[in-house]
Amino acid sequence: MGAEQAWLLAAIPAGVFFVLAIFGRALPRGGDYLGVAAIGTSFLLSFFVLGDLLSTEDKLGPITASIEWSTIGKFELRQGIWIDPITVTMFGVITTVALMVNVFSIGYMKGEPRYYWFFAVLQLFVASMLMLVMADNLLLVYISWELVGVCSFLLIGFYWEKRSATEAAKKAFITTRVGDVGLLIGIILLWKATGTFDIHGIIHAAEAGQIGQTYLFVSIMFVFLGCMGKSAQVPFHVWLPDAMEGPTPVSALIHAATMVVAGVYLTARLLPIFEVADGALLVVTIVGLTTALLTGFIALAQTDIKKVLAYSTVGQLGFMFVALGTGHPAIGMFHLATHAFFKALLFLGSGSVIHATHHNQEMEKLGGLWKKMPITGTTFFIGSLALAGVPPLAGFWSKDEIFVALNDKWGLWAVLILALAATMTAFYTTRLFIRTFMGKPMDKHVHDHTHESGYVMTGPLMFLAFLAVTAGFVVFHSVGKGLGLPGGITEFIFAEHHGPHEYEIDWGFAAASVVMATIGIFAAGWMYWGNSIERSTALAERNPGIYQMFKRKFYFDELYQAVIDRGVLGFSYVVSWFDRYVVNDTGVDGSAQITGFSGGVLKYLQTGRVPNYAMAIALGVVGLTVAGLVVRG
């Protein structure tokens, strides 16, 4: 297979979706093995694609292929693929995480109703995401983007008998759809300026200065709205924590490899345009910083283990945008990749806990699980350290890169904000770990019935834990070379005008990073270790206002609900009322009634009596004669 056939990566899982959706019910075990086989094939094929890319002259490609799709006069649409280092990195991340999630789900979803449907939609989800990252034009990006959205809707709402699941699914779809309005507007605006949907055509036009500054800024900001929606950046972040209503493996997939990273990917892909448009990078940075900070505060006060992880994802996505805001796609992509591995690990780990404790995900009822679940506990520990940014785990390297680049680009103020967010990350991650796995069990009943999950679930955990430890090393030149890449990740992925640069450790920032992580970890340890939860309770009681603000997530949901109820639905009632009573009853029925009324009045003129008519004729003759005389005379 050549890389020109990379579309097979998406086509195979998509085909399996149809097979499972139509015949899955009849297949033994709902055809879950077909799902694993499909993703497994894509996983293997991604190595072929990588191999092909590395065999091009400078090992950077790109390899492209496209076909004509439709033509109306000069309006020609082509669909095609574009394989470059960013694409293959995404391929690797998506297929690895998806494969692990698929295998894990065999254990986790066992005995669920609509088992086959779960696996079917999972395939389509992954296929859409793969198509998204290889699309060479924004139209295909948008198409895949929406398909990803609808798959997330189906998976979040998987337990549709539960009202909350349906609501969460709806919220996810509509919130991201609002962002997508911006995306589509942005895409069409860019088309209007350049006459093409081809990503690289648009980038070249932007770099060549063919598009006016203001116009370019406005259109790229519209595109960025879509990225913010998909990647759950403030103020669009509200859907992601609710998306926990889906089965936990889906959460792992959404948070790590599909869906939320789509926005990061697209921003990274279009980064040259952000750089040309004055101020766009600053917006990206500020959005990222705001998100990282706000969600850090919120995560401090959550007690549902999946909610904590969800807010940490939102925060880490903020980190990725901050990274992209420095103008270096490699750093954003690097953090995306490392985060994908450890966040998938953490989610699947929490899934293992939830599965083992019979659907208990409240920290208030957990605790002391490490001895009961050694593999889950250990791998979760590794994932937590990686998320907290402890060296030499994966999260440390990518976060460190962000700090260095951030300092270069925007200076110390930005670094300080992000450092606060990073410290909080370490804090709430530690809190999460301690309250779930350490200390004494909070609920004896739950604890007694807990047991370690089977290998089909712990296997993926161990594999992902391995990656959470090692994935960060790809930053080193020698490691990259050893893998066959031109060098470390920053020599593989880079913006053209920045050029590749070899990674060198900045000891100052590395030390600062370690200090931040340590502060967060020890602060959490001081508060929560050995069931010393009184300390945090006391803190919360002393500052009820602040605690409530964090706990209630800065009241975003309440605000939106009010806007939707009072604003949007209110407006809809007004329009409906206007349509019924003004346009219809007054305008339409009113004219009917006037006709009816005048008919009713005029009918009295038609009496049917000859003397009346004779009288009218006589009066008419007299009247006309008089009128004639007046006019003449």
């Binding site: 439709s70 109306i72 198409i143 609808v150 709402g157 549709w160 008998e161 509509i174 809809s572 339409v588």
Partner: protein, 501 residues
């Protein structure tokens, strides 16, 4: 006989078969209900097959006007000169697409009415008469017959809704008919004005179009009479603020009539705007199209907004039709290739998708006898296939890629942005509202806790599956592989007078 001639007879057959079926049904005894159904199903299949043939055999890149048939009817008498009134049938890229739509929806609707028991003979007589009118309008190249068939399509509606309808059916039927007749009066005035002004003694549309473009119809004349044509046709296309017959009419109409009405008849209005507005009066179009654009945008946003809080399935679809037909009018008003092509695609897309929606509503209502969203919940448990079919229609409605709605709306948006970026942005926003009202309905009806009151509901019957399956196939084909549609429509649109590239 040449191929062109033979194809002319195919076109004739497409509108003659429904008429013959109606005639055959007149001769069938009313108590033979099964025979009536078989005749209708076979007619539907033949008509559908013929329309697929017309669409497939239409040559992209050949002459735009193909498959012609001319039968002189009245000429060289009194005020009529050469070719005075001719049965002149032909097909271009736009009408080929519309014919395909009509064929598919007619067949699907005929199957949907299978379970109708009350006077089904009379129902089908009117039904096929209506469809003959629709085909006739799409194929006519003679203004006289154009109007004749147009009226033939509209008139049976009154009885179909008034006799077989539900929920305030007399009111719905009367309002719908009166408003449409009001529109027809405007068109009729416009037609006579054109005939008189052009002074060619012919109703041949090609000659009159030439007159519209070469200055025979003066700019002042065109500016005066363009609104007659566009408002007259616009009533049928749910042009805001002449749309209110749509929610009420749809609410009252029986399933098959809703399908054909929303699916095909509303398109006659938009088609009329192309034939009698853009083609006949290009100067008028240039002058008035910004106004139509504004009304289209209002319709698109207004319909979507009103649909948000409706509680009756059919009212949601009624208002969503107003919104989607608003897109069609916007596309036409762009006066550029991409926008008008998008409008025609949207006519097709909205047709198949709304037909599917009404088919599904009928499948539920026939059993449940209520259409209030709040009465339902968790229906996916008892009617999974129904949910899937409805969901596909709904997602097409929302403009989800992979379904026809996206293809059409995408072209309309691109076309609109060429000249009116702000309106384009508003239209895209209305598409997000569509997601809100659709998902609200999904959430309330399909999902959530199951209401045991509905344990006895049956899933789709085999006929409903066949009928819905055809519509879904059309939705998906246009959604994924739209080149056959854009090729045919685009090539014709490019040659319309006054259309920018």
């Amino acid at each position: 006989m040449s191929l062109e001639e033979a194809q002319g007879y195919v076109v004739l057959a497409t509108l003659a078969v429904p008429l013959l079926a109606a005639f055959a049904l007149v001769l069938t005894p009313g108590r033979e209900k099964m025979l009536v159904r078989y005749i209708s199903a076979v007619t539907g299949a033949i008509v559908c097959g013929l329309s697929i043939y017309i669409f497939a055999a239409y040559q992209v890149g050949g002459d735009q006007v193909q498959m012609t048939l001319r039968w002189a009817w009245v000429e060289n008498t009194a005020f009529l000169g050469e070719n005075g009134i001719t049965l002149y049938l032909a097909v271009d890229g736009i009408s080929a697409t519309m014919a395909l739509l009509t064929g598919v929806v007619a067949f699907a609707g005929a199957l949907a009415a299978w379970k109708l028991d009350f006077r089904n003979k009379d129902f089908y007589i009117l039904y096929w008469t209506l469809l003959a009118g629709v085909f006739g309008t799409f194929f006519s190249y003679d203004l006289f017959f154009f109007f004749f068939f147009y009226e033939l399509a509209v008139m049976p509606l009154y009885l179909l809704i008034g006799v077989w309808g539900s929920t305030r059916k007399e009111y719905g039927a009367a309002k719908l008919t009166l408003m449409l007749v009001g529109g027809s009066v405007l068109i009729w005035i416009g037609i006579f004005a054109v005939f008189h002004e052009a002074n060619l003694g012919t109703f041949d549309m090609e000659k009159l179009w030439a007159a519209g473009s070469d200055g025979t119809l003066s700019p002042t004349f065109q500016k005066t009479f363009f609104p007659f044509m566009v408002i007259g046709c616009g009533v049928l296309a749910a042009l805001w603020p002449f749309h209110t017959w749509s929610p009420d009419g749809h609410m009252s109409a029986p399933t098959a009539v809703s399908m054909v009405h929303a699916g095909v008849l509303m398109k006659l209005g938009a088609f009329g705007i192309i034939r009698l507005g853009i083609q006949l009066m290009p100067e008028g179009a240039e002058f008035w199209m910004p106004g139509l654009m504004v009304l289209g945008v209002i319709g698109a946003v207004y319909g979507a907004t009103a649909a948000l809080t409706q509680r009756d399935f059919k009212l949601i679809s009624g208002y969503s039709s107003v919104s989607h037909m608003g897109y069609v009018l916007m596309g036409l008003a762009t006066m550029n290739e991409i926008g008008i092509t998008g409008a025609v695609l949207q006519m097709f897309s909205h047709g198949v998708m709304t037909a599917l929606v009404f088919l599904m509503i009928g499948a539920l209502y026939d059993q449940a006898h209520t259409r209030d969203l709040k009465d339902f919940g968790g229906i996916a448990k008892v009617m999974p296939l129904w949910v899937i079919f409805y969901a596909i229609a709904g997602l097409a409605n929302v403009g989800l890629p992979g379904f026809s709605g996206f293809t059409a709306e995408f072209h309309i948006f691109v076309g609109t942005f060429q000249t009116y970026p702000v309106f384009g942005a508003l239209a895209i926003f209305a598409a997000a509202l569509a997601a809100a009202y659709m998902l609200r309905m999904f959430g309330t009806v399909f999902f959530g806790p199951f209401n045991p009151r509905w344990s006895d509901l049956k899933d789709l019957t085999p006929l409903e599956r066949l009928s819905g399956g055809m519509l879904i196939a059309s939705i998906v084909v246009m959604g994924v592989w739209w080149a056959p549609f854009t090729d045919r429509v685009g090539a014709t649109v490019m040659l319309l007078p006054g259309v920018a590239s």
